[in-house]
Symmetry: C2
Subunit: 337 residues, 2 copies
DNA sequence: TTGTAAGCGTTATCAC
DNA sequence: GTGATAACGCTTACAA
């Protein structure tokens, strides 16, 4: 049975209040008292019960990071940075996986989930804009959106400029001299905003270069996993004329797409140049290495945590938008012939 | 301000006890009462406070999964399965990252970390056997070890037979006709038990085949990341005679090693055959695809969660050892010429 | 500077 | 079957 404040107080012959003062670092405690208390704490191996403290203070010291799939490299790399950033602010991170389950997302946001042991949510959503809009209005749970962009200032969010990022990626392929530029990653339901924005950037870059937008060259991807990229690329390669470049909305899609190109007996970048988004470590070792749009996840993580902490401390603070920098990293998958 | 049991009781004109009964699904409640209570709950949008409940019951409904690095694919894929398995048992998962920090591991295990908001720990350790032995003895926190094997029945653990797995992997390379078989992944401090066991399996397979164990062919890896595999492989390739096969203690090491082989102007598997351990998804898409020892992570996750739940329910239950099956999956990186 | 006591929102032990 | 009421372990007015 773990020792309590009361036990320590009894042993040290002081009041429970004094023990609490010592434990929580209150200043005005005489040295003799502090000495006695610390000794008793040592002796009993006392540790404060965080749950009791939480019940009293209303703070758990935990953040929830909600992602669709933790084993998607982008999310696990983001999680790593978020855990690190949260530690700097004295918070710990609980990771929740929604598994593309909108219902689960709604539960978390509305608090329909009855086990909310955290102070705030970092949310990398799957939900549509409309869904999200009236979701969190019921709960007062502090919320910061990751990766999304277009929410009219209702929520804190930290994201990249998706339109520009997609535009830059497409532009890079154009500068290579490619003209039949396909894209993988549009979502069947067009209400997901990230894919929508990337499509917008892709199309605008094509138009600016005077290249007609060819609907057949745009393939959806139900999720953003390797298998989805593989399937989509296979379909693209069977077209006539076949694309000479593919812009993938995520690096993982790109990994699958590259494999599909090889399996078709073609080569990257000679036959098909490929670019992704995310800059996951895998792309720095793959063959060929993957050209990508790098996202500065540490930046995203840091600002997201900073925002949520600010909102926890003051729920009334105005919502803020943070745009993380991005940058095209040219590697072998788009190297010039 | 969220509604409490008391508010509901007042509105429904019943006692707080009756409300609690309804909420926690107690059977002996009259229909009229239940009706009234449910109505009030609905009206107030009442949700039980999990912290208060926890303080009373001592259960948080949370498990901690402790891993060195969440962005290492093996761990993120394991995390995914653990989260899924935990959900089946009604638990949620908090992921903690120790970042190769022994001190952090000790903190978590001894509860020196003051925020123990979970009921049990699933621990994929970095610590040495000796360290672990007297670590958890102070706390009574339920603990299940993942991936480790040789702890004399003091702790629950679910793992694979590391010696056999390494033996099988090495044997596979031998059966290919390779004779200069290197290994990457031994740890500088030999007290880590998993690497130790893999080295044991590697060496025994060589000896059985009458192949001398060549110390130069064994390279340590500080961590198990791509960069470590890359560096180790580079060193191996500069040897004379150079190895014609490499057994990597993890798939990620293998990905780095493959890249090093290509950068040296050699090919896999013709010049150097490569096999890993873990069966991460990346290896199913890489070029060449990676031969590996598959670990059945869902099995590991399920049994680990089942054990920890059993131990939470009855702390006195005898420690158990679960050995997960493993299997060599032959792919292109060791295909016959 | 330190002690006393009132909660935080539950669950559980009594009675009735 | 339902109603009071005492914990759970802590923080924090309010007193002394």
């Amino acid at each position: 049975m773990p020792a309590t404040l009361r036990d320590v107080a009894d042993l040290a012959q002081v009041s429970i209040r004094t023990v609490s003062n010592v434990v929580s670092g209150y200043e005005h405690v005489s040295d003799r008292m502090r000495e006695r208390v610390l000794h008793a704490i040592e002796q009993l191996d006392y540790r404060p019960n965080p749950v009791a403290r939480t019940l009293r203070t209303g703070r758990t010291g935990m953040l929830a990071l909600v992602v669709p799939e933790i084993d998607v490299p982008y999310f696990s790399e983001l999680a790593r940075d978020v855990i690190t950033a949260a530690a700097d602010f004295g918070y710990r991170v609980m990771i929740d996986q929604t598994g593309h389950d909108h219902e689960r997302e709604r539960e978390l946001l509305t608090g329909g989930d009855r086990t909310m042991l955290f102070d705030g949510i970092l949310f990398s959503p799957l939900v549509t804009k409309a869904e999200l809009l009236d979701m969190n209005s019921r709960t007062s749970m502090p919320l910061v959106l990751l990766g999304e962009h277009d929410f009219d200032g209702r929520y804190d969010h930290v994201a990249i400029d998706n339109v520009r990022a997609a535009h830059d990626a497409t532009r890079h392929l154009i500068d290579l001299g490619r003209t039949r530029i396909a894209a993988i990653g549009a979502q069947p339901q067009e209400s997901y905003s990230t894919p929508q924005q990337r499509t917008e950037g892709y199309e605008s870059a094509l138009r600016e270069a005077g290249i007609p937008v060819e609907p057949d060259y745009q393939r959806p991807a139900p999720h953003y996993r390797r298998a989805d990229g593989y399937d989509a690329a296979r379909a693209l390669l069977s077209l006539d004329p076949r694309p000479d470049a593919i812009f993938c909305y995520s690096d993982l899609l790109a990994m699958g797409a590259m494999r599909a190109v090889f399996d078709a007996g073609l080569s990257v970048p000679e036959d098909v140049a490929i670019i992704g988004i995310d800059d996951i470590e895998e792309g720095r070792y793959s063959r060929p290495t993957l050209t990508t749009v790098s996202l500065d996840t540490p930046f995203i993580a840091h600002h997201a945590v900073a925002r949520i902490v600010a909102r926890i401390d003051d729920p009334e603070v105005a919502a803020e938008e943070v745009i993380a920098p991005h940058q095209v990293l040219v590697r072998e998958s788009t190297a010039r012939g």
